[in-house]
């Protein structure tokens, strides 16, 4: 046994009987119930009618294809399950379903066409979701499994898809070049541009009498050359398996295709790129259930991230870094399901010292090759004369520099607010953490609705004063109210997740498991912390 010094236990000070705790719990439960209801609806894909039609054709529902593909009892972390939620022209969840799970004992990224949604046609948000899944494959070196049955591009939206959509095929072959294989199982049509999905994959399985893969279907062929053709001879599974060679395996039926896909994963002899030192996994000492009472349902109320950390790390053990310095940036080391992590958590507004401490901590984690976990709950960097004069900009820049150039995997959890440049300094979406998940109480925007409306109000009054005109108080007040409402509506977790600003909203109680799955996935790619950074302005 290793004689290593164990980290001290982070004692909880939470009073579960307090009013704040109870109010948070109720609030968070209600927020989570809303998410769950939205997910349940999204899980129906195109709705019961289209599901029934799909099944009546003897086909397996796309989500069930994924379930069959997965090892029994495997975990499955769905990525962006509510993409497109509440968006015009989109169906909640979009026409693509995907996530991470075990197939033949290998962590894979599975992507299935949701054929009951617009026949699996790609919409702008489907493209975002599948693009994100492709990125997950690439960043973490995960074997890709595509379960295709798609009508192709959503033609009325072709202008939003066509040009950038081509990237997907490039990514497929780039991943192949990096020895990250993609296995493509074709259950239905995969035509025109879609034909390049199997075309660019490493392995292709086509289901007999179901798969249809061609650049142009019989009507278009007739239009183009006058040739009379039929689907099967033009792009059927048998033709592709026996004549064209576009298909490597001819599956008797869907289950057979899934079996073949699992068999292919087996023979990849997959090895992860990195492995953490094996260690005993102790559960946290405190109940994750209490996270619902700890996280503020109203993000304007601050909460102590130590109470979160002690409920998500192994044995509630946490080795805090610089505890007496820059206290609004809580930093320290812990383990999650055995994986070592360096945690950065906001305990208030980011000051200069906090930013400097965070930057240093990121450097240390890179130096010792430890992945990062960011727990965001920030209103941003501190503003005001004193702070500007202290150089909050250059200090904040150090943090952003460190986050941007760090090469160890980072995972971000939005535990509350994410405003302003705090979003960037704490590894927001644009800083490409490997994964980013959100709690239901989350609020995100350049600033709070009230502040933003107030700022606009001041600017408008200043402009009026400059012009020497009277302000219409009534109009201004209505505008202020509307602005505030608009910003608030656009700041919610559901609004954010619909736009794939995150990888999904999670139940706070499951944070520890989500982090573990993400960390384990990240370990498929070898990583080495960097020692080279952008210029730090001191």
């Amino acid at each position: 046994m290793l004689q290593e010094q164990r980290y001290p236990v982070l004692r909880s000070k939470v009073d579960p009987t307090s009013e704040t705790f109870q109010a948070n719990r109720e609030g968070n439960l209600a927020l989570w119930a809303e998410v769950e209801a939205a997910q349940a609806k999204a899980n129906l894909g195109g709705g019961e009618k289209y599901n029934a039609r799909h099944e009546s054709r003897g086909r397996i529902l796309p989500r069930k294809r994924i379930e069959m593909m997965l090892d029994r009892d495997s975990f499955f972390l769905e990525i962006a399950p509510l993409a497109g939620h509440g968006m015009k022209g989109e169906v909640s969840g979009t026409s693509v379903v995907g996530g991470i799970g075990l197939v033949s004992g290998v962590e894979c990224c599975l992507v299935a066409s949701e054929a009951t949604v617009k026949g699996g046609a790609i919409t702008p948000t489907s493209m975002l979701r599948s693009g994100r899944l492709a990125e997950v494959c690439e960043q973490n070196r995960l074997v890709g499994l595509s379960l295709i049955e798609s009508a192709g591009a959503d033609l009325p939206n072709q202008d939003k898809i066509f040009v950038h959509g081509g990237e997907g095929f490039r990514h497929l072959t780039r991943r192949s070049e990096h020895k990250i294989p993609t296995i493509c199982l074709v259950f239905g049509s995969s035509t025109a541009g879609g034909a390049y999905l199997p075309g660019m994959s490493d392995y292709v399985v086509m289901v007999k009498e179901q798969a249809q893969v061609y650049l142009a279907g019989p009507p278009l062929v007739k239009m183009a050359t006058g040739e009379e053709t039929e689907h099967e001879e033009l792009g059927g599974a048998e033709m592709h398996s026996t004549l064209s060679g576009v298909s490597d395996y001819l599956a008797e039926d869907e289950l057979d295709a899934i079996r073949l896909g699992r068999e292919i994963v087996s023979h990849l002899e997959w090895k992860k790129g990195a492995t953490p030192k094996p260690r005993l996994v102790e559960p946290p000492l405190y109940d994750a259930e209490e996270l619902l009472g700890i996280a503020s349902a109203d993000v304007r109320v601050p909460f102590d991230q130590r109470e979160v950390i002690t409920r998500i790390v192994d044995g509630s053990r946490f080795s805090e870094f610089k505890p007496a310095y820059g206290k609004t940036m809580l930093c320290g080391w812990a383990h999650i399901h055995g994986f070592p992590v360096g945690i950065l958590a906001n305990n208030g507004t980011i000051f200069s010292e906090s930013a400097n401490k965070g930057a240093q901590f990121i450097q240390l984690c890179n130096a010792s090759n430890v992945p990062l976990v960011f727990l965001q709950n920030t209103t941003g960097f501190m503003v005001g004369k004193k702070y500007e004069q202290e150089g909050i900009i250059k200090n904040g820049a150090k943090l952003i520099n460190a986050v941007s150039n760090s090469t160890v995997p980072a995972i971000t959890i939005m535990t509350g607010s994410s405003y302003g440049a705090g979003n960037y300094g704490m590894s927001g979406r644009a800083y490409k953490p490997r994964f980013l998940f959100t709690w239901p109480n989350h609020k995100i925007a350049v600033m709070g609705g009230k502040q933003l409306a107030g700022v606009l109000d001041i600017i408008q009054r200043q402009a009026a004063a400059k012009k020497g005109v009277e302000v219409d108080e009534k109009m201004l007040s209505v505008a202020k109210m509307m602005t505030e409402k608009q910003i608030d509506d656009q700041s919610t977790a559901l609004y954010a997740t619909a736009r794939v600003w995150d990888d999904g909203i999670i139940d706070p109680r499951q944070t520890r498991n989500v982090l573990a799955i993400c960390l384990s996935a990240a370990y498929n790619a070898p990583f080495e912390g960097t020692t080279s950074w952008g210029v730090f302005r001191h």
Binding site: G105, R262, N513, A516, I517
Partner: protein, 658 residues
């Protein structure tokens, strides 16, 4: 003169070989096993100090090869041979050959074996000594009138038998004088046509007979004692399956009369070593000599239980030339003991012998329990020998407790992989007439038909499906290498429950479950939804709480068959394959082999037109013939076998296309 035996070769296999070697070890005697190719790897071979391969599986090429056995004795310098029961145990030539080779035969003299070998002569011999024999006529005068007179003299009911016969042919039961002459004529006719000999013998027929036998023990010094009775009336297909002592039908007076009669028999032939005198006991307490088994009986352990003797030890001491260690008056007779014979056989299928691997074999020790087992988990029950797996023996101060202990033992026994008569034995033990001690040799035919016809217990099967599901889930969970501490089946967005599915014959059970955290699952099968908390999985023991009821079960098997066992359940389930291999499915109109065996006759060829039910071929398996018939009217499309082929169970034989 006594001679201390140094090394015993056991010319037998299975449980009896192990049992004999156990006593040898106790006495400090080295052991030598002989075995056939089919028995390599059986526990009795493993446990012997030395072992010799005799030859191929058939007994005639292995366990009945006197020359090879004696050669093994010579090469191993064994100074004695114990023949066990069956095989060469009652073979006088073998006893002679041993003597010639200078090896002690642990058993009676060759002369005694010879004397008792012929039933007719044995009967005459003991009859002369004053032992009651079944009255009858076995004379040369075959005048029907004489036969009729003799029958009347014997008294009705009488049995007319073709003296050359067997198998019930030419046998007539006559209950009154009116049908006698017709019966004589027809029995003689059947004898003539079946055996080419119409000679008949007349025998008194005993209604409601019991089979009661007396253990005897004699030495080379003229001492002969009996060790009281064994009640062996519970039989199927004329083979004992449950034996007990004392017999519920005997009182001390009858016991001592039968004991004395047995001693008389032994004395009449100068019997040495252990032997058994079998009697028919009539309801009126009259008893008749049946035969002497000049060997150790299968059911000898129950006598050991009530006497405290080790009969194999006594056999060895006598064989060494020592005098008996106790007199008749000193023979203890305490408490009660029961033995059941656990067979690999299918009671519901006419007690058809079964073969195959023993996947699990587990019987925890208990008070008053003795297990003489020939198998362990991993053994193969071969088609070549008697399919008895083990004898289970329980004893106690009295019969009810001994029987109760037997019930408990049978319930706790997990014997998996082959179909056994375990459940059937339990049903016999639970039958009121058995409990009351009111039975005769017709007990199973008369009382057990209903039990044999019982359908499946669907509730038990469903419960077993739940348990099998969670044992398999736990097994997978324990083997997880990636994220072993993340909850089983974790989802951030639940969609479809996990599931497992099983077939039991043609009944399908599907179990869906969803982990709710902390080892608690919601599980649904059919109309039933339960909360299952997995308390522990200490392979192969699963402990779960089902809606608050803690249940423990032993779950064994493999990917193709799962066995769920506890005191209330004993169910074999076939897990269904998630991705069925299409090449393995039987084509429409296909006939498969019902069990492993040999094709002895092929009656059709490709292209033949056949009718549904028509015999296509005949297989021989487990010494019995099985007809494989056409499943439908049609044309023989494919014949995959030829006469003489050895085939595996489920092998495709013939396809009949409509």
């Amino acid at each position: 003169m006594t001679r201390t035996i140094q090394k015993v070769l056991v010319a037998n296999r299975g449980e009896i070989a192990r049992r004999i070697m156990r006593t040898c070890r106790k006495m400090g005697i080295a052991t030598v096993a002989v075995y056939s190719e089919a028995d390599e790897g059986m526990p009795f071979v493993e446990e012997a100090d030395e072992a010799f391969l005799l030859g191929p599986a058939p007994s005639s090429e292995s366990y009945l090869r006197i020359d090879k056995i004696l050669d093994a004795a010579k090469r191993s310098r064994a100074d004695a041979i114990h023949p066990g029961y069956g095989f060469l145990s009652e073979n006088a030539e073998f006893a002679d050959a041993c003597a010639e080779a200078g090896v002690i035969f642990i058993g009676p003299t060759a002369d005694a074996i010879r004397a008792m070998g012929s039933k007719k002569e044995a009967k005459a011999l003991v009859g002369d000594a004053g032992v009651p024999v079944i009255p009858g006529y076995n004379g040369a005068d075959q005048d029907p009138k004489v036969l009729a007179e003799k029958a009347i003299e014997v008294g009705f009911p009488v049995l007319l038998k073709a003296s050359a016969g067997g198998g019930g042919k030419g046998m007539k039961l006559v209950r009154e004088e009116s049908g006698l002459s017709d019966a004589i004529a027809s029995a003689a006719r059947e004898g003539q046509s079946s055996f080419g000999d119409g000679t008949l013998l007349v025998e008194k027929y005993i209604d409601n007979p019991r089979h009661v036998e007396i253990q005897i023990l004699g030495d080379g010094h003229g001492n002969l004692i009996h060790l009281n009775e064994r009640e062996c009336s519970i039989q199927r297909r004329h083979q004992k399956i449950i034996e007990e002592t004392p017999s519920p039908a005997l009182d001390p007076e009858l016991r001592s009369r039968m004991g004395e009669a047995a001693v008389l028999c032994g004395q009449a032939i100068g019997y040495q070593n252990a032997g058994t005198v079998e009697f028919i006991l009539a309801p009126d307490r009259s008893f008749y000599f049946l035969e002497v088994n000049t060997r150790l009986q299968v059911e000898h352990p129950i006598t050991e239980c009530v006497t405290g003797l080790d009969l194999v030890e006594e056999q060895i001491l006598v064989a060494q030339g020592e005098p008996l260690r106790l007199t008749q008056d000193e023979v203890p007779f305490r408490g009660a003991a029961v033995e059941v014979r656990l067979y690999a056989e299918d009671p519901a299928g006419g007690f058809l012998p079964q073969s195959g691997p023993v996947v699990d074999w587990h019987l925890p020790p208990a008070e008053g329990l003795r297990v003489d087992s020939g198998v362990e988990a991993g053994c193969e029950v071969s088609i070549y020998y008697d399919p008895m797996l083990a004898k289970i023996i329980t004893s106690a101060d009295n019969r009810p407790v001994a029987i109760q202990r037997m019930r408990a033992a049978l319930r706790s026994l997990s014997a998996q992989g082959v179909v056994t008569n375990r459940e059937f034995l339990l049903q016999v033990l639970d039958h009121p007439e058995f409990i009351a001690g009111n039975f005769d040799t017709h007990f199973i035919d008369q009382h057990m038909q209903e039990a044999l016809a019982q359908g499946p217990h669907e509730d038990a099967e469903r419960q077993a499906a739940f348990l099998a599901t969670f044992a398999r889930q736990q097994q997978r969970d324990a083997a997880r290498s990636i994220l072993p501490s993340v909850p089983s089946g974790w989802r951030n967005n639940f969609h479809t429950p996990q599931w497992d599915a099983f077939d039991i014959d043609d009944r399908a059970y599907r179990v869906e479950y969803r982990h709710q955290g902390d080892g608690v699952f919601e599980a649904t099968s059919g109309e039933i939804t339960v909360q299952v908390r997995v308390v522990s999985w200490d392979a192969p023991t699963l402990t779960v709480e089902v809606d608050g009821h803690r249940v423990r079960a032993r779950v064994t098997g493999n990917e193709s068959e799962i066995y769920v066992h506890n005191a209330d359940l004993d169910v074999a389930l076939k897990p269904t394959d998630r991705f069925p291999d299409k090449s393995l499915t039987v084509p429409e109109g296909g006939c498969i082999a019902p069990m492993p065996g040999k094709i002895i006759e092929l009656r059709v060829a490709e292209g033949d037109t056949v009718e549904a039910g028509q015999v296509l071929l005949i297989m021989e398996a487990m010494k019995m013939e099985h007809s494989v018939t056409a499943p439908q009217d049609g044309t023989v499309e494919q014949v995959s076998v030829a006469a003489g082929d050895q085939v595996d169970a489920d092998a495709l034989l013939v396809v009949v296309a409509e």
